[in-house]
Amino acid sequence: MTEGRGKRGQTVVRCVEVTKRFGSFEALRKVSVEVRAGEVVCIIGPSGGGKSTFLRTLNGLESIEEGEIHVLDVRLPAGKREIERLRREVGMVFQSFNLFLHMSVRANLTLAPTTALGLSKAEANERAKRLLTRVGIEEQIDKYPGQLSGGQQQRVAIARALAMEPKIMLFDEPTSSLDPEMVNEVLDVIRGLAESGMTMLVVTHEMGFAREVADRVLFITDGQILVDAPPAEFFGRPTDERQAAFLSKIL
């Protein structure tokens, strides 16, 4: 386990010939890939190609039909208890924030730590304050999600996931539903997280971000990983026809 691209660590995600079907539609076709601790992997590709589905199989939000996925010490498919345990160690941030709208920001951040980790209210509260400071919105702790801007809501969602002190973070198009002027405040938070050594998989359409932050870029289309390369190579010398076509459209 000494090779790797710049960052080194144990393998924390290993997918082996993973196939996911929705009815007769194959959303993922024999996908195999590995991610090491500390790596930042950006996932790009056209819509409907399977990027989000791939991400959602990693914490069991989507079940898989064939193959297996090893995340940390859990092997998927697994039972409900195992999946619940896995999810406590894998944070996820969604395109549409998915904050609990009837709860204050504080309650959004303390729900999981108190119910799933057994933290006391005071401990969870301390953690919430610390994380909100980290994402730069500590003064919003007693507001409700509806009173915040999209960028602020997404930062709350990131803090909420971090409150479980996860070992891996999954981002599913975290900036796609934001107004343009709010994209950077969220990307800055994610960038900071990457610099702190967090293992991350980020589905994104922000090519500049991917080029700058990623250790590897995956190109997923038609349910397959067609390219897996460091950003310089990925953006500089496309090796696949569809990758080249995709890049020429968006760059």
Binding site: E84, R85, G91, M92, S96, F100, L111, A116, A161
Partner: protein, 221 residues
Amino acid sequence: MRFETHQLAQHYPLLFEGLRITLTICALSLAFGIVIGLVACFGKLRERGIAYRIAVIYIDFFRTIPEVVLIFWVYSCLPLMLSLRISAEASGVIALTLFASAYLAEIFRAGILAVPRGQIEAALALGVPSLHIWIRVILQPAIRRMMPALVSFLTELIKATSLLSAIGVAEMAYQASVLGSKTFAYVEFLSAIGVLYFIIIFPLSIYARRAERRLVSRTAN
């Protein structure tokens, strides 16, 4: 004609006795209705299978039959079929429970379905235990969202209890018509209970309307 207030002054305890029975029957049918309504609601939420089909038939059936027919049926036919005696009061509670559970099941279901799927997924992704997902993420906002519909159904239920006078349950409307025929002071007694129903139901309707408006303005933000 003269409005004979002394008739009211003399017989009002019977009206209040009727009111007590009205409220008791309401409370019982509401309580049983909530329990059976929850069962039917979760049956229908399954969306397939035998429990789902039974729930759908149950809900459609008891929402379609007029309450009066249901009341007469439980009072006259059910005892024959089961060959046992059922008092008028018990028949009333059974009939209104069937009526209430079918409507409540739909109110509960609408409230639960209105919880955005994404919030449930977020809670799952955080590893929140399912009991807590149900309580904090699904039911808490669902109950808040269904309050207006629930309270406005309660007003319907209170009104429906007056139909039980048809099978001789001594609730408020029954007492008023009996007192009316005994004293010929129909105007006095029927007006009095009209006012009583209004005093009970009007604040509830106001509450339901306000709660509904609050809900709309909150979701608009």
